[in-house]
């Protein structure tokens, strides 16, 4: 029984496990970049597969890829998008900084799976070649940053935005509930003049509303995609319509208003849009820290703290102090567990 097969690239041939879909370049990366255990996130691989699908469809529309190859690539890409081949992307973050090895990992897995769907033999590069077909009209240098923008945008809209709104709504409900409760204000941690607990919570709601606006403000930069720039931004080896058409196809596939970046040199050589977006996340982190710390301090006690809020007692709070955080009728001081998340 054969446990390995031969895969080849421009450096020659190399043994890979018979049952995997990746090829020579992935195998070499595993050998040369065995650094740490931080892997490419699944949502990033998913974004990459959406891009490969869109590229195959546009290549076909432009007369650059026959229908059968396009359909096999689309079918294989769909499997990656659905997470069916999740164990086929073993490469680490700490690889070549352009992400070439991950682009090739995606090309190799999609081509080998497409070959299998076509009735061919893995590693044969026939009838679907990882570079000439799956990577057609593309370079690592424009695909990787394009996948970065797709993954970042989806994460912001589908994960972060909905979570902020959920928290904002819950805090707004408390704001209304606490609207008539007059409490003492504190400045410099010292006693100050009164305000209502609802007013205090309205500040948290406003911070989160601002965080939502900040994220909305970073999205237009993330909608601009590098695809079509190929190796250095000039678009060598790609069709003049490829950049525009792939962005349009990606919009259709994702429901997000992606466009072709007007300047590909910046899109390959800089990541200012993501730096800006990370700034919005850092601002959100600062707001959450403020909100969670306030709630944590206001819930301090139960007998020796500020004790103005009663926090839910969710779990035992101490391995040595018996009964800590056990009573549901008094303030729990296990809150550190939760504010540490927030």
């Amino acid at each position: 029984m054969t446990t390995t097969r031969k895969e080849s690239d421009s450096m020659g041939s190399i043994d890979v496990a018979a049952d995997v879909y990746w090829g020579a370049q992935t195998q070499r990366s595993l050998h040369h970049f065995a650094i740490g255990d931080d892997m490419m996130p699944p949502e990033f691989i998913r974004a990459f597969a959406i891009l490969k699908k869109a590229s195959a469809m546009v290549n076909h529309d432009l007369g650059l890829l026959p229908a059968d190859k396009m359909q096999w690539i689309v079918a294989a890409s769909d499997e990656v998008i659905m997470g069916k081949l999740g164990d086929q992307f073993p490469l680490r973050i700490w690889q070549t900084g352009s992400g070439t090895q991950t682009n090739m990992n995606v090309n190799e897995v999609i081509s080998n799976r497409a070959i299998e769907l076509a009735g061919g033999k893995k590693g044969s590069k026939n009838p679907v070649h990882p570079n000439d077909d799956v990577n057609r009209s593309q370079s690592s240098n424009d695909t990787f940053p394009t996948a970065m923008h797709i993954a970042a945008t989806e994460a912001l809209i589908q994960r972060v935005m909905s979570a902020i709104k959920e928290l904002r709504d819950a805090l707004h409900k408390k704001q209304m509930e606490f609207n008539t409760i007059v409490k003492i204000g504190r400045t410099h941690l010292q006693d100050a003049v009164p305000l209502t607990l609802g007013q205090e919570f309205s500040g948290y709601v406003a911070q989160l509303n601002a965080a939502i606006k900040n994220i909305e403000a970073v999205l237009p930069g993330l909608y601009e995609l590098a695809i079509g720039g190929t190796a250095v931004g000039t678009g060598i080896n790609t069709h003049p319509k490829f950049a525009h058409d792939v962005a349009k196809k990606l919009s259709e596939l994702t429901g997000l208003p992606f466009v072709s970046a007007p300047n590909k040199f910046a899109a390959l050589a800089a990541h200012d849009a993501i730096v800006f977006a990370s700034g919005a996340l850092k601002t959100l982190a600062c707001a959450l820290m403020k909100i969670a710390n306030d709630i944590r301090w206001l819930g301090s006690g139960p007998r020796c703290g500020l004790g103005e809020l009663i926090l839910p007692a969710n779990e035992p709070g101490s391995s040595i102090m018996p009964g800590k955080s056990q009573s549901h009728t008094i303030r729990s001081d296990d809150y550190g567990m939760h504010t540490s998340h927030g």
Binding site: P41, S162, I181, K183, I184, D191, H271, E308, G342
Partner: protein, 129 residues
Amino acid sequence: MVCIQVMGNDAAIGFAGSQGNFELNVYKPVIIYNFLHSTDLLADAMHMFTAHCVRELIADEKQIRAHVDNSLMLVTALAPKIGYDKCAEIAHKAWHDGTNLLEATLALGYLTEKEFKELVRPETMTSPR
């Protein structure tokens, strides 16, 4: 902890974003890795915080009221009537004598009890008027 990790991720993204040379930035994997780490952590943490803390928060109105009543800074409400300096004197006297604001005000003879009680009403102090 999540917030601190996000701030650290942002620092890494900033360094990596500044390292483009000529036609390519070759710090791409570390950028997207840290970015998606931040989005994952923030989204999960907000869900947990909302579900397991914020929704179940209860105000301890008795304790809140006790803090309000015990505060010396309610004296601020007297400032438009008797001026900042006399108010400060009342607050300091109450603090040093271990008494409350009313007792200190009466001892200094700045207002009658009726005048004091008309002015020092916490519920009227939470908005401009």
